[in-house]
């Protein structure tokens, strides 16, 4: 068995292995080369792959996202880093309207990965804490991936690069150095589009992804002590969504909660809940429950951000309510 690595190292290793395996893969973004990226995901890459494949850019998110799209159409495999995923907002049109629609409109695939550090609980405030999955979920033609474990981070970044479609790949910065794990020998890719049952349980299904997987696991451990067994489904891929795994779990447990790190309104959590209410309604013994952030920007000060974010306590309280109903 290989050594323990962090989630950050898993992403880094996945990028490195894919670059070693495929000369068409290159990285583009701000401060990737000499500096190794704001979070050091690409530290050492410049030395190994040279400036042609580790391309530092001016501060122009739409510009370099667009350039990556162009290069992807010509057969390269660009991986775009947004220094913080928040700055993807500046490339919104390029990603949604150019990358997302191209294949449908005129048949030309755009195999590009847009990735970067996302998520809160790091006192990053409104512009360094984004979880933008819900902003992009509505955009046809994109795929959205958000891993919670070392294995998935590694296998999914490699799958994202190999995917012939535009893939948004989010890396939760709170998990970057906190989540550790080992890579199974021989692992290359983890398939995009498949959820994972992160914990089996009979009393209720918790659908979630990214950092909230770990919150849900914590809640499940604590509830297990009381004999309450949560089943936890880690979506891993937000789009296209693996309804099958979600619905099968709900069919087993007859109760469902969705917990996610997004505002309540307009969240992907709502979409998940809606699918369950449409397609597993007759399996449900109780209302759907959404546990989300507040409907506010991400506040900065720790007491405020704690109030803003979901956590195990909040989830447990909602599980108890649900089981009592």
């Amino acid at each position: 068995m290989s050594a323990e690595i962090t989630l950050l190292e898993a992403v880094s290793q996945g990028l490195r292995d894919e670059m070693r395996a495929d000369p068409r893969v290159f990285l583009i973004g701000e401060d990737l080369g000499r500096y190794g990226g704001a979070f050091r995901v690409t530290a050492g890459f410049l030395d190994e792959f040279g400036p042609e494949r580790v391309v530092d850019t001016p501060i122009s998110e739409s510009g370099f996202a667009g350039a990556a799209i162009g290069a992807a159409m010509m057969g390269l495999r660009p991986v775009v880093e947004f220094q913080f995923i928040d700055f993807m907002a500046n490339a919104f049109d390029m990603i949604v309207n150019f990358a997302g629609t191209n294949r449908y409109r005129w048949g030309q695939a755009v195999p590009v990965v847009f990735r970067g550090p996302s998520g809160g609980r790091v006192s990053g405030s409104a512009f360094h804490s984004a979880n933008p999955e819900a902003f992009y979920h509505r955009a046809p033609g994109l795929k959205i991936v958000y891993p919670a474990t070392v294995e998935d981070a590694y296998g999914l970044i490699r799958a994202a690069i190999r995917d012939p479609n535009p893939v948004l790949f989010f890396e939760h910065k709170y998990l970057y150095r906190r989540i550790k794990g080992t890579l199974p020998a021989g692992l290359e890719t983890v398939p995009i589009g498949r959820a994972r049952v992160a914990r089996a349980g009979r009393d209720a299904t918790v659908v979630t992804w990214a950092a909230m997987v770990h919150v849900a696991l914590e809640a499940a451990e604590r509830l297990a002590a009381e004999g309450i067994e949560l089943e936890i489904v880690d979506l891993r891929t937000i789009k296209p969504m693996d309804e099958e795994t979600v619905l099968a779990s709900v069919a087993r447990t007859n109760r469902a909660l969705v917990i996610s790190e997004e505002p309540y309104s307009g969240s992907v959590a709502g979409d998940v809940a809606a699918r369950i209410a449409e397609k597993a309604f007759w399996h449900l013994d109780a209302p759907l429950v959404r546990v989300t952030c507040l409907d506010t920007p991400v506040p900065y000060s720790p007491p405020l951000e704690d109030a803003y974010l979901p956590n195990a306590d909040k989830l447990i309280a909602r599980v108890r309510e649900l089981l009592a109903s």
Binding site: T57, G66, I69, W106, N165
Partner: protein, 349 residues
Amino acid sequence: MTSGPLGPLDPGPAPSTAGRLAETALGREQQLELHRWLRLNRLVEDRLTNLYRQGKVVGGLYSSRGQEAISVGSAYALGPHDVIGPLIRNLGALLVRGVAPREVFTQYMARGTSPTGGKDCNLHFGDLGRGLVSPISMLGALVPVMAGVAFAARYEKKDYVALTYIGDGGTSTGDFHEGMNLAAVLEVPLVVIAEHNGYAYSTPTSRQMKIRDLAQRAAAYGIPARIVDGNDVLAVYEATRRAVAAARGGAGPQMIEVKTFRMKGHAEHDDAGYVPRELLEAWRARDPIERFERHLTATGLATAAELEAATAEIQRALDVEVDAALAAPMPPPERAAEGVYEPGPEAPR
């Protein structure tokens, strides 16, 4: 061009007194070929206007009337492996690139056999086999994308260049700025043809920017720019040829500002009432096709009769193309759900 009594868009003296077209090394055959592309461009659009009036065109119709020399002259200067990202007024570039008129007609009539199978409209289609990238409507977006196309050439040590177009209005977009600057920093082989045609929809260039020449935009990126008479197909050709050679040779991105005028409204529905009639008249006297025809006859490269014969031949060919397009079916409804994703290396399950 200096500012005349009609203001900054005054084209200056009429061509009869302005003298000849630009010097060129193109021979007779090539010049006659250019002529055929120019005429084809205009005649395809005339047919489209008819189809539009007959209610056959689905959606809006955009014209390049008066600007044909730009698309034709620039595309004609490219090599077979170069890649173009045209906008909706660059029909001529598509034609030179080998797009058949019926493809254009079927696009505009939303037919199932159109290049996009009815999924997208007008000139919104591409085909990398013919070196064509489709635009999106958002102006400016093609500049970064084509910079990326050029980047790929350098990355793979291939010697194609990327060429794209931008309107005076389009140069105000953030994407133009980011794309140009990025192209300059990455030193990629990109050629940008900036079409200064006086208006962006109803907005005159004077309300679009406080500078006279689009070339001044290029200076902000350290990109060399030349200003060229856009109604002189030979001038456009020669300038593009030089810019393409420079880009291909490793000199980084190049820009060409072509001075021209939009001779119709923004689209067919727009009567362009906001354009002073005198300005239109002044520019009509510089019509790029008539000028080129005068040049061809004056230099003895062709007789008026030969030019007319060429035109008549195009008309005959277009009869066939229009009929074929009119006979083409609308797309089957079930196609709407198909084609969002490229099938991946891994099946969904």
